[in-house]
Symmetry: C2
């Protein structure tokens, strides 16, 4: 009874992370309720993004320019690369404002199950970039999960012998985190990595 | 660093029910990840919905035709109207397949706080429809909340003396519901409305 257009809208919305079939229906209804102020602007911005956003051929970031604004920014240190799983991790790193180098987006993590190996992750491309662009330091910022750390080890292996310094993000108690709510693995890691006060 | 197009996409997505700022960011990233298979189709269907979907001038339903397919369906009983809060409630009622009359969408509930009175809810329009279209029965299907029931009482008041039968949905234990997980109000209502076995 919903009609084919709204049915299709619900179906596409339900494929967004965080929206199940029921919340997709609510979202579709909300969009139709707010046709002028929400649905039409969203249709325009989606068309705009589809039209303009490209994947940076150098680092894999998303931007309206290629090379992306980070790769093109001469004030950023091209000798330091931060290796991240995906663009979401790149955004998270950028929000901190704490990193002034450039990035390399893997586009995933090693996964035998999903058939994702070193080539799918563009690791040969990273090695080539390190060799050709005078990169001197690599920071591995893959997630602190089994897949993330396996991927980090593989990247580190492939970079061995290229004369590049390789480090990984520290593991420990999150800032503002209470021990009560932390898992054992994090507390153990923080204990092992304890620092002089 | 995200760029103005993606920033705007995140901002609009975060206005959907069920998506906060963080999940809107994830959804935007997912859309850009799946440009061909998700972002572009969604842009098209939104433009399509914006273009085609109208509010039915008779009942307030959303459809690509006006009067909507329910109001236009001669197999449905135009003498019975189900009064609902919004199109979401109409959809929910339609999914049951249990109602073969037509609808009247109020577009909200009475709310002194939000300045929503009888006129904003189109109650005069409902009264006019009842008088002019030979409606003989009204089913009040507003939610079982204070606002929903206040609204139902107001509608019933306005319809008094028009010679139309007015009923409300039964309150009771939801089918499949266990007493353990039900609130006291529902159990009391079910007890008061107990039926001979």
């Amino acid at each position: 009874m919903v009609g084919p257009e709204i049915e299709r809208l619900i179906q596409l919305l339900s494929r967004l992370p965080g929206l199940g079939p029921r919340s997709a229906r609510r979202a579709a209804l909300h969009l139709v309720d707010k046709r002028e102020v929400l649905l039409q602007p969203l249709a325009h911005v989606l068309a705009d993004v589809a039209d303009k956003i490209k994947t940076c051929a150098i680092c894999g970031n998303y931007d309206s320019v290629d090379p992306c604004s980070i790769c093109a920014d001469t004030r950023r240190d091209g000798a330091i690369l931060c290796v991240v799983e995906d663009v979401g991790a790149l955004w998270a790193m950028e929000r901190t404002g704490a990193f002034r180098g450039r990035y390399h987006v893997l586009g995933g993590l090693l996964s035998a199950l999903d058939g994702i190996g070193p080539d799918e992750l563009g690791i040969p491309k990273l090695v080539q970039r390190v060799v050709e662009s005078g990169v001197t330091e690599i920071i591995l910022a893959t997630p602190a999960t089994v897949e993330g750390q396996t991927t980090a080890h593989l990247v580190a292996d492939r970079l061995a012998g290229l004369g590049v310094a390789v480090s990984g993000l520290a593991h420990g108690v999150p800032v503002g985190g209470s021990l009560d709510y932390l898992d054992d693995g994090t507390i153990s890691a923080a204990l092992r990595a304890r620092r002089a006060f």
